[in-house]
Amino acid sequence: MAQALAWMAADPDARLLAGGQTLMPMLAMRLVRPSKLIDIARIPGLDRLEIAADRVELGATLRQVAVERSAALAEAVPLLAKAIRFVGHPPTRRRGTVGGSLANADPAAELALVAVTLGAELLLHDGSAVAAVDFFLAPMTTALPEGAMLTGLRIARQSAPRRGTGFREVAMRAGDYALASAACEVTLDAAGRCASLRLGIGGATPVPTLLPLAALLGTSLTEAKPAIAAALAPLEMMSDGNAGAAYRRRAAQALAEQVLADALAEAMRCN
C-alpha cells in the first residue's frame, strides 16, 4: 500500500486499477490514457471482510462475488445481499470490487446507493472516514482527495429486531445500468409503528440521494405516497437517451413506494 501511494504521489497521471470492470473498457476505448496503472488487487488485507457485532467492514478490493456469497454478511446487512445481485452480471461480479464501484461513483451504482441509504462511511488510507452522503459529489466525481486511496466501507449494523429491507431497480435489461433504483431499510416498534426509516434513490438522480422522510416516523407507513412525492419534488432528475427526467421521476416514485412496501412487509413478519 505504501508503494502504491508513493507511485501515485510521484505521478498525478497514474491510476489505480482494482477489478478493472470500468477502467479496462475506458482504456480499450482510449477514453483515458494514464501514465501508470497501479494494480491494487494483490495488496494484502485490502480485500478483507470483517463482520463484528456492531458493524461490518468491506475492504476496497473485496470482490463483489464475495459479498454475494457470504451468508454471514447477508444476515448482518440484508440490504447489501439484495442489492449485490443487481450489480452487473456474474462474470463482472467475479472481478469487480466493492471499492472500485464506490470510487467510480456511477449514478446507477447499487453499492453506492446502499452506502448512502445505510449511512455508511468510506474509509481512506490515512485512517480517516467520509460519510457516504458527503462522498458522492456528482456523476463519476467523489470527495476522495488527490493521491488518496479508498480502502474500505464501514456499515453500522442495525440491531432492531423488527427490521425489513427492500431493493429494486428498473433497467433496459437485467444487469444494465439502472434508470432508477431504490433501497430501503425500516424498523418497527412493538406496536408496529415506524421506529426508523432510510429510503434512498439512485440511478435517477446524479448521486444516490437519501429522501427526507422524518414525517413518517411513528406512523404505520401505509400513507407514504405523498411524503415520498414531496421528498422527490425538489430533486434534479437526470435525462439521457434511455429515459427522460419525467420518466425517471415516475420510476423513482414507484420504486420508492415498492421498496418501502417490501421492507414493511418483511419487518412485519419478524417477531
Binding site: 478493472g20 470492470q21 473498457p25 480499450a28 462475488v65 452480471h89 456474474p90 462474470p91 472481478r95
Partner: protein, 159 residues
C-alpha cells in the same frame, strides 16, 4: 514484460507489452483463437475464459493480472484431441449455436455453472448466461443445450 501464464494445464512463459489484455495474450501470443474477440470492452461476453474455474471477461483483464491464476479456455475443455465435452456435444445436439460468435463463452459459462450446480433450474441457467450476448439463437436452444448437458452429466460416471 515477462510473464508466466498457466493455461489449460500448462505453464507458458511469454513476453508481452505491459498493457496487453489477457484476451490478446491468449489469441495472439499463445495462438488460442478459440477465445473470441468481440466488443473488446466488456459488453458481449464472447471473450469469456475460466479463471480458477469461474467465468471472467478476458478483455477486461491484463495478461499480467492472470499470473499465478489457473486459466481455462475453450481449447481446455475437450477430453482429448478431436473429441467434444458433454457440454459441447449438447450444444451440437440442440443446435445451440448458429454463427458461433458467442459459443466459446457460452460453453465455458455452462461448464462452470454445471460444476458448481449440477442440476440448475431454468432461471439459474438464464442468470448464469446473462452476461453473454447471442444475436442468433434467441437463447432458447442454448438453455436447452445446458439442460441436456446437465441431464447427461447426472447419468454419467465421470462428470
Amino acid at each position: 514484460m515477462q510473464l508466466t501464464l498457466h493455461v489449460n494445464g500448462a505453464d507458458h512463459a511469454i513476453d508481452v507489452d505491459d498493457r496487453t489484455s489477457l484476451l490478446d495474450a491468449l489469441r495472439d501470443t499463445l495462438g488460442l483463437k478459440g477465445t473470441h474477440a468481440g466488443c473488446e470492452h466488456g459488453v458481449c461476453g464472447t471473450c469469456t475464459v475460466l479463471l480458477n474455474g469461474e467465468p471472467v471477461r478476458s478483455c477486461l483483464m491484463l495478461a499480467a493480472q492472470a499470473e499465478g491464476e489457473v486459466v481455462t479456455t475453450i481449447e481446455g475443455v475437450t477430453p482429448a484431441p478431436g473429441e467434444l465435452s458433454v457440454v459441447q456435444d449438447s450444444f451440437v445436439e440442440t443446435h445451440g449455436m448458429q454463427c458461433g460468435y458467442c459459443t466459446p463463452g457460452m460453453v465455458l459459462t455452462a461448464h462452470a455453472l454445471l460444476r458448481a450446480n449440477p442440476a440448475p433450474s431454468r432461471a439459474e441457467i438464464v442468470e448464469a448466461i446473462s452476461g453473454n450476448l447471442c444475436r442468433c439463437t434467441g437463447y432458447g436452444q442454448i438453455v436447452e443445450a445446458i439442460e441436456l448437458a446437465a441431464q447427461r452429466l447426472a447419468r454419467s460416471n465421470t462428470p
